[in-house]
């Protein structure tokens, strides 16, 4: 394992302090917690809290600021934060109009956020939530813990954050959130697995000439292992999966997010973007909003994911709503 760290058990704490050192004009760390909160939260608006295990940076602290999240709660690497920490995040964000939680669909995250919601409600804070499950690599069946929450969560942050900034009520945010989750889907591919600092070795191994489609952001197994392919062929496979899941219809509009998983250079992400463009140009759909970069990473995993959001109403406007966050 080659990493620029000190004690593996201190990585989260030291990362958070470094993050605040670099972005202290915008965010602060709530003392003795793993909560990064927006400074000067605007009053009389519903506020947004998200979080999860660390190792997915810039998710979620990089999205804290006006127009997106008001607080992000970090757990240990790839491990959900605990209920008391999430509760601290809720208290830090609360501006009197209720707090909305954005949760990725993992067993631990759902349980810890649910317990935090109970703690907050016991103190009189109105809390509602949405569970994001955009990873179409997994069948949603009774035989698994359900589809996982991955990079599509970032679109949910962006749109709900804009809506909250425009004065949506907690109830209105919930209704919007449910529609967003139904319309966002992602699928990824990995060339190598991530190495958790405290574990010291990759979560799984792929040969030099192998790659795997559908790997999760904590190295959960994917749906197909194959010989390594060109960007063109990878774009064809990923867009074919999304096309099947959405059932593209002429005239539909989508937002597109190409997401690096941590160790894939931007050069390769843009090459893939160019190939995705070619694939999608064969479809009679419009892509009025696009984004390429590292949004929901998996430590040092080499790979990418493709997210599409089927657009409704004024969602493009909400995507373009100005934000003041570290990473957008």
């Amino acid at each position: 394992m080659k990493k620029i760290i000190n004690e593996p058990s201190n990585v989260v704490d030291e990362m958070l302090d470094g993050f605040v050192y670099a972005n202290g004009d915008r965010v602060k760390r709530i003392e003795d917690t793993t909560v990064i909160a927006q400074k000067d939260i605007q009053p009389n608006k519903v506020t947004l809290v998200s979080g999860g295990g660390s190792g997915h940076e810039p998710a979620h602290a990089g999205f804290v600021g006006k127009g997106m999240l008001q607080a992000a709660v970090s757990g240990e690497v790839f491990t959900s934060p605990t209920p008391d920490q999430v509760f601290e995040g809720i208290k830090a964000a609360d501006a009197g109009e209720g707090v909305f939680l954005i949760i990725k669909n993992y067993t631990g995250d759902v349980m810890n956020f649910d317990m935090a919601k109970e703690l907050a409600e016991a103190e009189g804070i109105n809390v509602d939530y949405v569970i994001v499950d955009d990873d179409i690599a997994v069948e949603d069946s009774t035989h698994t813990a359900g589809k996982r929450g991955v990079a599509g969560t970032v679109f949910v942050h962006k749109i709900l954050g804009a809506a909250a900034d425009r004065g949506y009520s907690l109830h209105e945010l919930k209704q919007l959130a449910v529609r967003l989750v139904l319309n966002v889907k992602s699928v990824g591919v990995a060339m190598t697995a991530a190495t958790v600092p405290e574990v010291g070795k990759p979560g799984f191994t792929l040969a030099d000439d192998e790659m795997e489609y559908g790997v999760g952001i904590h190295s959960e197994p994917g749906y197909k292992r194959t010989a390594i392919k060109s960007a063109e062929k990878i774009a064809a496979e990923l867009t074919a999966q999304l096309k099947k899941a959405f059932d593209f219809q002429p005239g539909q509009e989508y937002a597109l997010l190409i997401n690096g998983l941590g160790a894939t250079p931007l050069m390769e992400q843009y090459i893939l973007a160019n190939d995705v463009k070619k694939q999608l140009s064969n479809e009679a759909i419009a892509i009025p909003y696009k984004k390429v970069g590292n949004w929901m990473t998996s430590l040092d995993m080499n790979g990418v994911s493709l997210t599409m959001l089927k657009l409704e109403d004024d969602w493009v406007e909400l995507l373009n709503h100005p934000v003041s966050v570290t990473d957008w």
Partner: protein
Amino acid sequence: MLTAEQTNRWLERFAEKIEANKDYLSELDGIIGDGDHGNNMARGIEEMRKKLQAADPANGSEVLKNASVALLSKIGGAAGPLYGTALLEMSKQMTEADDLSAVVKAGLDGVQKRGKAEEGEKTMVDVFAPVYRELEAGNLTVEAVEDAVEATRELKATKGRASYLGERSIGELDPGAVSIGYLFISLIEEGLTDV
């Protein structure tokens, strides 16, 4: 009810087992999960020890409650809420009745409610439930706990992160079942099942 001293002994033995098997638990988790169960449990146990040493509990119920809060605030992931809930529900039940099997049943019910898991899904419930039945029948032994743990090997995971492996989860032990097994083996080894 177990005394504070008895409950402390029980949990201290559990802590020793977790520490001794930290790498083993993470190794098991690496096969069907994400490889951090041992580290997460060890972090929780360290906090639990601190909390239990600083506390002056009146009875076993208070010890379990203190342990619950410590584990809940430090383990994280799925194991944190499950261990926290198990110990908290056992703590509550302990104030109501002396019957240890009823106490274990309360913990089991709490875990099933929190994790929405049934028996046969390759989780800690597959150790918790048989332990309760053996305890109620008056013949809980270390071998019975070990058998229940070993039996998770042949199950297919349908809950938690291991469920994404589907058929590939068969043939491996469930790390949560192994760690909760240590809790009950510690109870037996401290001679507390027939107090």
